[in-house]
Structure formats: structure tokens, C-alpha cells
């Protein structure tokens, strides 16, 4: 237990949270429930029906990106956990290396690769193929999300798998479990906390991104983030509607996460 005297050490962070997390939330909520002319009401939320396709598209693409990250990231993290410390160190460095570069630059680089006269299409052109429509598609947007957020899946999964005690796996093997059973009934259930935080860390920024869709979707794949940005910095300048969209998006994300965590808890109960 942390002694009571040390509690004040948390004060700076609590202050930070209050000023930069709680008060903005209060302001956003206030805007969401007020109209341009100042009256209180649900008008902003009623308008949101028009944006249903945008909500659906955002969550669908974020879901795809998360699934791809999980399919790519989990096996990698699992394989890496069985390597020597030196290999692990080098591999983790490579996973994190791109993050040292500016996010926008990395996404810009993808534009040059996917462009109609970009690297891929120029290469294919040598064989008389194409040009293929790669950029300004939903696929390009998902690719951008996967590329940018994959490390956020690998790192938590790896950290958790690595901490699974070898004796647990040995015990399962001693009790006659083959490799599949050991993975399905021991390693995977124990790695779920890492998977869940990985999913959260990929899904949330994917659902709310606006710059990836702008750069790789060419303004044709409108996501929630773009919609919100339009309300604050576009012609519209409707802070109230923008706030309402933000609130609903937050609630939907919280809902998704709650459902996911339920699923995770049950997993623990059954297998541990």
C-alpha cells in the first residue's frame, strides 16, 4: 500500500486531468446540448441521423484495421516471445523505429507509394500492368491505419505473452497437452489482457482518425474525424453539431470497449 503521505505525489496529474481532460469534456457536453442560438435541447443529436453512413463507415474501417493488426501482430508477438533477448531487443527496436518519424511524413510516404504514378504503379507499368487504382480507396485508408497503429498491437501483446511463466506451459505439456492445446487453453487465454489493450489502442485512433482518410482517401472516404473537423474548421463552423458527433462517437467507442472487456473477463474465468 502506498502510504497516505505519498498521495500528494498524484496531485500534479490529477490537476492535469482536471484541466485537460475533465473540463474539455464538460465543455463539449455543454456545446452538444445547446443550439447556435443558445437554447438547450437534443436538436444536434437528432441531426445525426443524416450521418449514419459516416458512422458505419468509420467503425467498419476501424474494425477491419483492428482485425488485420491482430492477425499480423499476434503471431509476430508470439513468435518473438520465444526468441533470445538479443533478437527481441533488435526486433522491438525495428517495430518502434517508424514511430520516431513524424506520423504525417509516414503517411505522405504511402501516398508516393500508392499514387497512380507512384512506386507500385511504375513498377507494374514495366510489365504493362495497370495503373491500378490504389490510392483514394477504402483499402488505402485501412492500410494507412494498419501501418500506423500496428506497433500498438504488437507491443502490449508481446509484453503480456513474454510474462507468461514458462512453468505454466511446462505444466500443460506434462499433463499431456499438445502444442495446439497448450496454445488454445493456456497461452492465448493468458495473453487476452494484452490483446484487449492492443485492440483498444488500434481501434480507438482508427475510428477517430481524420488525416489518414484525408491523405490516403483523397477526400472521398469521409470518416467521423473528417466530419468533426469540418464542423470546427470548415465552412460549417458548427461547434454544437461537432460536439454532438464527438460525444456520440465517444459513447460508441466506450460501448465497443465494454462489450470487448466483458468477453475478455469471461475468458479469464473459464480458463484460469
Amino acid at each position: 500500500m502506498v502510504s497516505r503521505r505519498l498521495k500528494w505525489l498524484a496531485a500534479p496529474y490529477i490537476l492535469w486531468m482536471g484541466v485537460f481532460v475533465v473540463s474539455p469534456l464538460v465543455i463539449v457536453t455543454f456545446f452538444a446540448f445547446t443550439a447556435r442560438d443558445g437554447g438547450f435541447g437534443l436538436d444536434n443529436f437528432l441531426q445525426l441521423r443524416a450521418f449514419a453512413p459516416v458512422f458505419a463507415r468509420s467503425f467498419y474501417l476501424a474494425f477491419l484495421a483492428t482485425a488485420v493488426c491482430l492477425l499480423l501482430g499476434y503471431p509476430f508477438a508470439y513468435a518473438l516471445s520465444r526468441e533470445s533477448a538479443r533478437v527481441q531487443g533488435a526486433a522491438l527496436l525495428l517495430v518502434m523505429l517508424p514511430m520516431w518519424m513524424n506520423f504525417l511524413l509516414r503517411t505522405y510516404a504511402w501516398m508516393n507509394i500508392l499514387e497512380n504514378n507512384g512506386l507500385i504503379n511504375r513498377f507494374l507499368g514495366n510489365f504493362g500492368i495497370g495503373p491500378l487504382q490504389l490510392i483514394n480507396t477504402q483499402g488505402a485508408v485501412v492500410l494507412g491505419m494498419v501501418y500506423n497503429y500496428l506497433p500498438f498491437m504488437i507491443l502490449p501483446v508481446f509484453t503480456v505473452i513474454q510474462k507468461i511463466h514458462a512453468s505454466l506451459i511446462e505444466a500443460a505439456q506434462d499433463l499431456g497437452g499438445n502444442a495446439r492445446v497448450v496454445f488454445a487453453r493456456v497461452v492465448f487465454p493468458l495473453s487476452l489482457p494484452g490483446v484487449l489493450s492492443g485492440i483498444t489502442m488500434v481501434f480507438v485512433p482508427s475510428a477517430s482518425t481524420f488525416i489518414i482518410s484525408k491523405l490516403l482517401g483523397g477526400g472521398k472516404v469521409l470518416l467521423l474525424g473528417d466530419l468533426i473537423e469540418m464542423q470546427f474548421l470548415g465552412n460549417a463552423y458548427n461547434l454544437h453539431l461537432g460536439s454532438a458527433i464527438s460525444i456520440v462517437m465517444m459513447l460508441l467507442v466506450v460501448l465497443c470497449m465494454t462489450v470487448m472487456n466483458r468477453f475478455g473477463d469471461r475468458g479469464d474465468v473459464i480458463y484460469v
Binding site: N116, N117, A236
Partner: protein, 345 residues
């Protein structure tokens, strides 16, 4: 992309501007990015002793949002025509004291009394320019005369248009033969229908990135600014520029002083300094846009006049129409139409 940065910059601007050096008189200037010879700021400070805190924005709407948020009291801002109109309408500008602007007489007659600011009470033109169709002559072989070319199925996947409601709907309005400044709901709905019809042909809609896409040859045809075309053609001689026959958007960016300016005297000095011929020439060199100052125009190099794009015979205003500030109901209609357009698959 610039826009994404400026979201963060918006917050920083507020913080920086407030903490900037306290000693001596100073002014805060808010201008478009990449649209000014910044060495002039140092020269101005040297001559007058007034320090310049220089900040930039990327769209009129970011400027508007920043002013509305009230974080910083700017002394000089440089919005475009329709935004000047909106700021006047919302009582956010102060009338200029022409007595303090000794160089105002150099502003060409035709730019002194435009619809967004009748009589030029609140604004002094900084630069003017126009939108046109820029196309790659190796890929677009049909004659380009009309906005219709942006609806031509032969160029499917090669067309880029502006990614904001006023410009995009405006071009559709012009194609249909209507005014940019129409308030008719029927005309605007027709324009929306035209844009939705065009949607499958588009490669993308974007803003600043159009420059790169057209210059690199990634797209064959798009809408962009005459001033930038001069730069683009240096990198890609295959590009050509046309004002469509239906008319185009002519814009004027103008110096204004917000109502809540802390140093209106310094602001007047600054505007007057920028209206000198030397300052105007320096800015034309850096930006490539067209000057509204007579003495600058007379001293320009031949190259600028040759192609007739930056300074067409008889003035640019005959090729198009300047945006006016639209009534609130029309602005809200634009928002709804633009949302419908973006949501349409």
C-alpha cells in the same frame, strides 16, 4: 495536411502569442501560410521599432475559428473577400483610418469598392488572384474551355476538385450558368446534383495537395490558383491554365484590423508599410500572386506580364466573380448540401 498541423498550431499560437516578449510596442499579424516575404517583418521592425509576432493560417475558416475562440487579439489579419464580408457583418473589424495610410492612393481604382466591403472602409487589398482549370496537355487532348471538362467521362479518375463547400458548389453553379453568390435553394440543389453526378469521375478532392498532384502528373486535370500555376509550370512545362468561359472565382485577400486589436496604430503603420512599392514587389516575387498596387504593377518584370495570366489585359475582374459573404440561411444550406454530398456514396 497543412490543416492538420494548424489544428495543433491554433492552440500553440494562442499560447505563444500571449507569452511573446513583453517589452516595447508590438503587433500580432495573422496571414495565410507561404503568402508573404517574411523578411519584410524584420525591416518593418527596424524602421518603426514595432515588433511583429507573425502567425499563419491555411483557410479563412481557421482564421474565423481562431478569432471566435478569442484566445488571441490579432492586430492585422489578411482574410479573403467573403470572410472580410462576414467579419464586417459580425462587427468584428474596425473601420480603417485612411489618414494613417499614406500609400492607400496606390491601390488600383478597380479594387477599392468591391461588394464584400463597399467603399473599402474596412480593408486594403493585399493580393488578388483567380481560380482556373490547370491541365496536363499530354493527357488532356480535348479543348479545355468550359467547366464541363471536369464532368467528362474520358478523364475518369484523373480529375481533382477543391475539398470545400464554397469552391466545389461554386464551380458546379458556374457550370450551370448561375452566380457564385446565389441564394436560391433550387440553384444550389441543382449544383449539388451536378456534383453527385461528377463524383464517380473524381480521383480526389483536396486543397493544397492539388499543387503536387498536378505538378507530379498524378492527376491530369484540376482546379487551382493562377498564382501557383506560374510555379507549377516551372516544374512541369506540360501544364496549361484556362479560365473557363462561364467565368471563374476571382479573389482578393485584404488587410484588416480586428475590433479587439491591442495596437491599432501599429497595425495601420504595418499595413501602410506593406503598401509601399518595395514591399509589394518583394511580395509579388515570393508569392507569384497579382498585386493591386499601381506602382508595383508598373515596375514588374516583363515575364509577369507576358503570359497574360497574372495580369490579363483589362484586369482580372472581367474573367469572373468575387465571393460575397452569404446570408446565414444560405451558409447553413451549404453545410447541409455539403454533408449530403459527402455522405452520398
Amino acid at each position: 495536411m497543412k490543416k492538420a498541423l494548424s489544428v495543433a498550431a491554433l492552440a500553440l499560437t494562442a499560447a505563444l502569442a500571449l507569452t511573446a516578449c513583453a517589452g516595447g510596442p508590438r503587433i500580432i499579424v495573422y496571414n495565410w501560410g507561404e503568402y508573404f516575404d517574411e523578411e519584410l517583418n524584420a525591416a518593418f521592425t527596424k524602421e518603426t521599432g514595432v515588433k511583429v509576432v507573425y502567425r499563419t493560417f491555411d483557410t479563412n475558416e481557421i482564421l474565423y475559428a481562431s478569432m471566435k475562440s478569442g484566445g488571441v487579439a490579432y492586430d492585422v489579419i489578411i482574410p479573403s473577400d467573403y470572410m472580410v464580408g462576414l467579419l464586417i457583418e459580425e462587427d468584428m473589424l474596425q473601420p480603417l483610418d485612411k489618414g494613417k495610410l499614406s500609400n492607400y492612393g496606390d491601390v488600383m481604382e478597380m479594387y477599392r469598392d468591391l461588394e464584400y466591403d463597399p467603399g473599402g472602409r474596412y480593408s486594403v487589398p493585399y493580393m488578388t488572384g483567380s481560380v482556373g482549370i490547370i491541365y496536363n496537355t499530354t493527357k488532356v487532348t480535348k479543348p479545355v474551355e468550359s467547366w464541363d471538362i471536369l464532368w467528362d467521362p474520358d478523364y475518369e479518375g484523373q480529375i481533382i476538385i477543391f475539398d470545400n463547400s464554397r469552391d466545389a458548389l461554386g464551380i458546379a453553379l458556374k457550370k450551370l450558368g448561375y452566380s457564385f453568390n446565389t441564394t436560391s435553394e433550387n440553384e444550389l440543389r441543382e449544383a449539388l446534383a451536378a456534383l453527385i453526378e461528377q463524383k464517380p469521375l473524381l480521383q480526389a478532392k483536396m486543397m493544397d495537395q492539388i499543387f503536387d498532384k498536378l505538378t507530379s502528373g498524378a492527376a491530369a486535370i484540376g482546379t487551382y490558383y493562377a498564382g501557383d500555376f506560374i510555379e507549377m509550370r516551372k516544374d512541369n512545362p506540360d501544364l496549361a491554365f484556362v479560365w473557363p468561359k462561364e467565368g471563374t472565382n476571382v479573389f482578393v485577400d485584404a488587410f484588416c484590423i480586428p475590433k479587439n486589436a491591442k495596437n491599432p496604430d501599429g497595425a495601420h503603420m504595418y499595413i501602410d508599410y506593406m503598401c509601399r512599392a518595395e514591399s509589394g514587389l518583394a511580395n509579388v516575387d515570393v508569392t507569384g500572386y497579382s498585386t493591386p498596387l499601381q506602382s508595383v504593377y508598373e515596375q514588374l518584370d516583363e515575364d509577369w506580364l507576358e503570359d497574360g495570366i497574372s495580369y490579363p489585359e483589362g484586369g482580372i475582374l472581367q474573367y469572373g466573380e468575387v465571393f460575397k459573404s452569404l446570408p446565414k440561411a444560405t451558409r447553413e444550406l451549404y453545410d447541409r448540401l455539403w454533408t449530403d454530398y459527402n455522405a452520398a456514396s
